[in-house]
Each structure stands twice: as structure tokens, then as C-alpha cells.
Symmetry: C2
């Protein structure tokens, strides 16, 4: 019996990253397909898998980790769709059929960040609760428990609650169209550009922006520790590429918690940079596909 | 074969409530034993169960929901202990042996609020994620997923993170010895007394205190929705007995979320008063006992 081939998609707001995998990892070049209109993008995704399947063999299952909001409820008639999104043209898109076409194979479908959390838990060998948070164009997060995405009513939207504001930042109203100064409104990449005209890594090391962003993400981390007691909070996304940011977040989190929830060294161990960096989403899609195949 | 008899304990900072139960519910009078010293309180608990067992039959399993922090990790040598607590004399108390003595029966042990969340999920027939939050002398919360407590690294401590402060309340520093103005520091019963000299239900209906407390608990609720997407947030504890408070919290939560995470009517359905009120903890202890017996 041959090895199983999986179709893996990290569906992002900027690009769709596609690859084939098997039970040991990714086995093909990655295709990076720009996210334009649903018709054009999804046709290119189908074309990639048709060509890849012709070269490698039939696809046994698909795993799709998508930007949100999505309908991830298997019992819903809208399962596999993108829900109401500010991304022009994508609201209501039947994403899963648009990717798999007529294929009748098992499909794993969840948020990109839930998929990334699966990959971080697997690569770290971490049971219990693991959270993945991306801080980039937006802020989002996913939760897994013993390797499986948490089955909430919808899915987590970790950028859209509020934390206390930094005293030196009260003049900025925040850029979230729904909330103003929720986490995404103050600490996403575009919110950084709005205030200081540059990315965080382009600001001088002693610029107050570093403290403002680190404190916001530290509040996020402490809130997650208080509500979920995760074994790992893996932080990824473009903003996290800022040198020194992870240590600033840990320092602020230790100061905020003041030794109550966790000793300082435990906070340093829980809050960590994504072990898989930009690959977490695509490897998570592979895990969604494998899990779907196993459960079928 | 006779029915199974369970020993149920809600171990609180003020009193221990003990009862016997069977697979259908509680079957004995409740004993309310004041929380004084570990020696005196635990001796009275053992005496209650000795007498109750003599009257009703041998105890097949115990369920214990306790105030925290506790060591709930079955693999830890400290399992069953109270951890470092401000409650004088109780840090390090081996609570489980102190209650069950020499009995060799299955024991379910978790936080009082995790037990309460089990009971709320069961009584409501609610799968997925259910959160129970108590707002009283302190603020704490527990999470269950499909009826089973979430297996985090430790346990949730939902009172000990910070949310934005109400503009009319900035003069109050908060009373948490670790954090000052974390949720417990600003919205617990004692924090209310600190500011206004009376309980929330004793304040006039148009007193700003109602808005301040409702807004803090609404931020807590929205944060839980954003991170966990629960099907129910059951709010219990003495402060929640304030007439009208639950509707103020819902109203504030709708305003904070502004229709992003959930439509307003869905927020009203998720945020609800505890269906079991003061009984959630003891009924949860019964569920812990039944689960321990089933898993043995």
C-alpha cells in the first residue's frame, strides 16, 4: 500500500500557500497564490492541486487552515464557508468546495491559527492547552487541547477584546473599525504604522513604541494564562520578528502578573516565539488533513 | 446491587458544604462547616461523612470542589493539596486526605468553579465550552469542554487579569494585594464595599457603581467570548444577586463588542445567571464524584 498524499492549504488574506504532504511532512514545492478574487484565487488553487496530484498521485484528504471568520461547525449547512469579512468579495465564499472541487475525500477545516496551534503543540510535544497567536496585519489566535482545536461555539477572535492602555499611548484611538482600541486596533502591524510611520523593527531601540506594543501583548498573554492556563503561548506573525520583542513581552508579563499566576521563569517558558515561524499554518493544515483522514 | 453513594464537598474559604449524593442527585441534609483551621474543619468533615455513611451506606467515591489555588495534577506528588493561599493556615494543606481519611475509593478533585461549570453544563444540556464565573468575596472561574474540566497547566484564575477601567472609577487603586486593579481588585464584593461602603444591591439604582461593576464584568465576558467562544458564561456569586446586574452586564457587553464577535441577542443568550445559583458547586462536586467512579 502506498503512502497517503494530503492536500494542504493555508488560506490567508494576502496569499494562499498550498503544498502536498504525506504522513512525514511536506513533499512538494509550495505554491504561493495571491488572494485576489475568490474565483481567480480558488481556480489557481485547484489548478495547483490538479498538477501536483498528476505528478505525485491521488490526494487522500485535504487540510485547510483559513483566515476568518469561518463556519467551522460540521453540523451547519454553511460549513466550509467564509463568513462576513471586511475582505472585499470574500464574504460568504464557499471556500472548501472552491478548493477541493468534486473530490470526495475527508477534509479538515479550521482557522489558520487553530491549525498553527496544532502544529506548535505537535512540534513541541506539548499536551494540554496550547495557544498560537499571530500578530501581523491582524491579531488572531487559536487554542488546542491535547492537540485538537477547542470546540467553541464559533472560533476564537483573540484580537478583538480590550486590555488596559499604555499611559504614553492614550492619544491614539485605535484603528479597529468595530472597537477602536481593541488589541488588533492598537498592536497590529497597521496600527504601528498608523502611529509611528514605520514597522516596529524600524523604530529605534529606545522608542516608546516597543514598550507600548510589548505591554499590550503582555496583557494578552497574562489574560490567556488567567483564563486558560496554557502550557505554551506561541507568538508568531510579522510583528514578532522585531528583535527583542519577545523578551520585552515576557518582562512586561512578569511585571503585570507580579508572581501570582506563575513564577517569572514559568512565564518565560509559557510565552515563546512560534517554533515554526511562518510554517506553522501550512504544517497545521497538514495536521488537519491527517486528522480528517484518521477520523474518516 | 444497591445504588452508589457519593461523598460531595464544596470546600470554600468561608464554609465547607458537605452532602451525600447518588446517581440521581443529593440525598442527605447539607452540613455547613465553617472554614476555621484545617484540623478543626477537616475533622468535622470526616465526622459528617462517618455519620452519614453509617446512616446511608458505604461511600463509593468522593467529589471535592475546592477554593484555590490547588494542585489538580494527578501526576504530581502534591495532588490534592491547597497551594500557597492568603487564607491563614491553609497553604500546603493536604485537603483530599484530610477529607477522605483512609478510604480507598475513587476521588474527583478540582476547583469549586470547575465543578460548578460541570453542573451548569449538565443542567443546561450544553456541550462545547461552558464557563462558570463567581463574583463574590473573590472572582474566579472554571471552564469545561463537553462536560469535562479543561486540562490546563494549572487552573484558571479568572479574577486576576486586567481590563480597561471605567472613566468614573480611576481614583480607586483596587484592592488585590498582587495586582491592585485586576478584576478581583475592582469588582469583587470587598472592592465594592471599599469604594461605596455598601454592597451593590444596597446602592441606589442610579448610582454609578452599578455601571462600573457591570462594565468590568462585561469586559470579562467579552474577553472570554473572544478567547474561548463559550456556549454559556454562567455568572454566580453574591454580587450577581444584585437586581438588574445581569442585564446591565449584557448591555455593556453588547456595547463593547459592537456586533463583531456575536450579534446582541447571541450575547444575551451566552451571558446568563447561574442556573443553579448557590448549588452549582455542591452539584458539581457530585458530578466530580460520579465521573471519578465511572473512570475507575
Amino acid at each position: 500500500m502506498g503512502e497517503r498524499i494530503y492536500g494542504c492549504v493555508e488560506a490567508g488574506g494576502t496569499k494562499f500557500v498550498c503544498s502536498l504532504g504525506n504522513d512525514w511532512g511536506l513533499i512538494s514545492e509550495r505554491a504561493r497564490i495571491p488572494t485576489t478574487t475568490p474565483e481567480a484565487t480558488l481556480a489557481a488553487v485547484r489548478a495547483f492541486f490538479a498538477a501536483a496530484s498528476a505528478a505525485h498521485g491521488p490526494i487522500a484528504a485535504y487540510g485547510i487552515g483559513s483566515f476568518g471568520p469561518i463556519d467551522r461547525d460540521r453540523g451547519s449547512p454553511g460549513w466550509g464557508k467564509i463568513l462576513q469579512t471586511p475582505k472585499p468579495g470574500w464574504s460568504g465564499t464557499p471556500l472548501v468546495p472552491g478548493i477541493v472541487g468534486e473530490a470526495r475525500v475527508p477534509i479538515g477545516f479550521d482557522t489558520d491559527v487553530a491549525a498553527a496551534a496544532m502544529a506548535e503543540a505537535a512540534i513541541g510535544g506539548i499536551g494540554g492547552v496550547v495557544v498560537y497567536v499571530t500578530v501581523g496585519t491582524g491579531i488572531g489566535g487559536g487554542v488546542v487541547v491535547d492537540g485538537v482545536p477547542l470546540d467553541g461555539e464559533r472560533h476564537a477572535e483573540m484580537g478583538h477584546f480590550r486590555v488596559p492602555r499604555h499611559a504614553a499611548d492614550l492619544g491614539f484611538a485605535g484603528r479597529c473599525p468595530y472597537h477602536g482600541d481593541c488589541l488588533e486596533g492598537i498592536a497590529s502591524g497597521p496600527a504601528i504604522i498608523d502611529r509611528w510611520g514605520r514597522s516596529l523593527s524600524e523604530l529605534p531601540e529606545d522608542h516608546v513604541g516597543h514598550d507600548i506594543i510589548a505591554q499590550a501583548l503582555a496583557h494578552l498573554s497574562v489574560t490567556l494564562i488567567a483564563t486558560l492556563s496554557p502550557r505554551r503561548i506561541a507568538l508568531g506573525g510579522g510583528v514578532l520578528h522585531t528583535p527583542g520583542l519577545i523578551d520585552r513581552i515576557r518582562r512586561e508579563a512578569r511585571a503585570i502578573d507580579n508572581g501570582y499566576l506563575l513564577p517569572g521563569e514559568a512565564i518565560d517558558a509559557v510565552i515563546a516565539p512560534s517554533a515554526l515561524d511562518g510554517d506553522a499554518g501550512l504544517l497545521g493544515a497538514l495536521m488537519l488533513a491527517r486528522r480528517a483522514a484518521e477520523m474518516a
